[in-house]
Symmetry: C3
Subunit: 159 residues, 3 copies
Amino acid sequence: MSEQPASIAELLQRIDQLESRNAMRDLASDYCHGFDKHDYARFEAIWWEDCEFEIGPPFGAFTGLAGIKRAVQEVLWPAWRETHHLTTNLRVWFDDKDHARGECDVDCMGASPDHQVMIVGASYYDRFERRNKVWKIRKRTVKLHYFNPLPGAQMSPPG
Amino acid sequence: MSEQPASIAELLQRIDQLESRNAMRDLASDYCHGFDKHDYARFEAIWWEDCEFEIGPPFGAFTGLAGIKRAVQEVLWPAWRETHHLTTNLRVWFDDKDHARGECDVDCMGASPDHQVMIVGASYYDRFERRNKVWKIRKRTVKLHYFNPLPGAQMSPPG
Amino acid sequence: MSEQPASIAELLQRIDQLESRNAMRDLASDYCHGFDKHDYARFEAIWWEDCEFEIGPPFGAFTGLAGIKRAVQEVLWPAWRETHHLTTNLRVWFDDKDHARGECDVDCMGASPDHQVMIVGASYYDRFERRNKVWKIRKRTVKLHYFNPLPGAQMSPPG
């Protein structure tokens, strides 16, 4: 009987890691849902209060929830009429059970305020951290691969 | 020893939820594979017999497997020469262990019967339900963000 | 008490399958990260030494790690200035606990060496195999749906 508790402890640890991966995947998804659907509460909820958001040129770097708010509401949302982010290829590496690094790619199609359709490709490099049982983003670094107009294209709903 | 059975019950419930999330992810994927590859049996298998498929204007709403068949075979497939759906950003919320809501985004590139390349962006809002151990879609609501021709583009395999 | 060990064995098997699915998802992601970011070690690490990589016309079929190296370094990378693969819709079917088949879709945007932006859509059909506790790709077959220039488009980072 002596092995049983050990087995359960091991199972718990493995289940915890599976759940943690899903939690990080959810954070990557909520970044897109919150940003694209202009749901600021949802976007803000993915970040720790001492977070860092390094978007790089020409957008800059932002820290803390006040920085997130400024980045989104004063810099990024005003730069777009609409956006559609698709995140894929998420990889996660655990440093310990409460800290992990992530890497994923994003494809974004959007339209500028003057109705120019844009294509954007980037990768996100993340630091995830779990505090009091909750995973959030401690730091996201954006590497933009391309950011260009798509001549002649339009975006509009049918009807 | 009294805690052990409780632990196993809890582990089972957590594993069940992880497997259920995967099952829902598979449904979202099979929607794309079945539709794009014109595998109707695969597409139909993701829906409950009393399902609802609300695509919205200009396509309408469809109910039951007869409605799914009409939507796909009489409305959607005839509107396309080919389609390529990419589903990402899937979020799942459990109402109870057999009912869940989902939200995901889709990017679709396709060509019309007269060979016009089209770009489509949408979100899917789902009601998943498990019956007799099987998860399927009870209701899918589509919100189309854009649906436009891509001037000058063509789609053809190499060679 | 007699059921407990059986339960733990069953839980272990179910957790193993969840972890295996994640491992296969990671392989599909690392294909993209390794290829797009020109990290050859990362790309090579997803393949078994007796692998097969059937890309189809006009690229051909390649076997073994020497074939992978030739395909990537002599055929595919020289055909592109840059690429951005997004893998989604991954489905996995287990043949037994160490063998599985996969199907996923990919959307790739890239630029040719002479700076023509290209759009590519394809599906990957995979044979995954676990050896000594490690999952890798035994065979990947590519089905190209389209492979076309996107007239007028450019890809460049901001600034």
